[in-house]
Amino acid sequence: MTAGQDEPIFDLAIVGAGPAGMAAAALAGEIGLSTVVLDEQPSPGGQIYRNVEHAGGVPLPGASREKGAALAAAFRATALDYRPGTGVWHIETHPGEPCRLWLLRDARVGQVRARRVLLATGATERPVPVPGWTLPGVLTVGALQILLKSAGMVPAGPVVLVGNGPLLYLTAVQLAAADTRVAAVLETGAKADLRAALRHLPGFVASGTWRAGLALLREFRALGLPVVRDVSEVTIEGGDRASGVRYRTADGQSGTVPAEVVALHEGVIPASSLARAIGCDLVWDAGQATFRPEIDTWGQSSVAAVQIVGDSAGIAGAEAAPLAGRIAVLEAARAVGRLTEAERDRRAAPFGRALSSLLRGRPFIDRLYPPRLARSPLADPVVVCRCEEVTAGAVRAALASGASGPNQIKAFLRCGMGPCQGRFCAPTVTRLIAEARGVPEAEVGSFRLRPPVKPIPLAAFAAAMEEDAP
């Protein structure tokens, strides 16, 4: 199926063309590594800089758009084998042999070989399971961002934003600027969050990211939108579609806000399905309340030929991702014999300093905007696994009747076996098991994943076989 033994073996395969992937690829090209870049999207940018090459789109906040455009321009100017619209659904890694990456492009299966692999697969929205979250009209805040950036689209009717964090405020500001009625911003949080965050204020100030953050917050507050703070319970109402949001705050206030679109957001978590499916070890990150791949300072995972960078290795944001990507490429270049260890270290030093400084700002953000709804008690009827419609009650019943870990829950209930492969239920299942057994989530672990990490239609194999037939 294309890529027989006579096919080229790349020095480096980069999966993902967001800020980490673009920066890594540009440096790989400069160093002279033969590089293939595989990305699901039709153009470079990832989600944060989606459609950044097209000036005709929606104006994003100035600075970040310029940075994204510069990364994309440098990426385009580099001699690479760039394959947009290409998903990677499995990677075979055998010690001492090149890796084999299995691809899906235009409904056809294919493959490429590379000595080293750099995963830069970004982040996905943290699932926020609340009653009614499967109704049409309920989306993630990230989804609203994508419609805005790639299609210039905004909700036509009143929208309610639920959750916390900078992306929530940015979205509110952008929607208001587009004359969309933001009926309410239901901020999830607790008074203790600010106290917990203050301890990390010096690092945040030192990181320099506070200026943009404060400016955004001021802009958001100046809009005078209806904001409800310390929201602790949310129910999305509606029959065949969302019609409104009922909420309750920590100090007992409650209300209902009618809405045509409801958008949820309690931060993002690493998109690590591919890393997990190929056997990369995970660690529990207590500060970000998520599992993430275990890596060293070079992005090296527990699988010898595989490095992981950017948000897919732990949420650090779009400023940090290019630095991590470049650092990892220098190590990849050393590993294939293109740079000496001393050259690698010399070139990596400035990137490392800038990255450390940025990372010092992260704990403040993580503590100030921790997941709240996503970690609050779940009522039995709430759907945990959207694909297979498995409720929290069903998970608890399976635990009571003898299931003990995530993989048994999967076998008992099909939870995590639908097309999304657990992307939107795994964190919740781990949490429910931890609660029921009274053990830390780190000990519970998460679903074991097996390739393919995305469903591959049989016709895609057939198409590739036909092509290869004499």
Binding site: I146, G152, G157, D240, R386, E389, G418, F424, P457
Partner: protein, 99 residues
């Protein structure tokens, strides 16, 4: 449910697609999910378990809520598909046990 904020880029060709037999005008280069949402369609499939209506949720290829049937091939992610002129789209009809 959604509206286009501005006229689309005049450099992009208009395309015509069909959803459940209805003709929809879309813009070349945009995703199928965006084109359908802009046309007021919000139910893309029925849940294979209960039959409950579902529509786009994450729009970045992770949640698989926007699955549709395109030119007879079921289980396609509308958010990861760029519209092509003449596409014939139906709601996804996969039901449990038949896939």
């Amino acid at each position: 449910m959604f509206r286009r904020r501005a006229q689309s880029d005049p450099g992009l060709p208009p395309v015509s697609i069909r959803f459940e037999g209805r003709t929809i005008a879309a813009t070349g280069g945009e995703t199928l999910a965006a084109a359908l949402l802009a046309a007021g369609e919000e139910v893309f499939r029925a849940s294979p378990v209960s039959g409950a209506p579902r529509g786009p949720f994450c729009l970045m290829g992770a949640c698989f809520e926007c699955l549709v049937e395109i030119d007879g091939m079921p289980g396609q992610q509308a958010c990861m598909t760029i519209v092509r002129d003449g596409m014939d789209i139906r709601r996804d009809r996969i039901v449990e046990g038949e896939e």
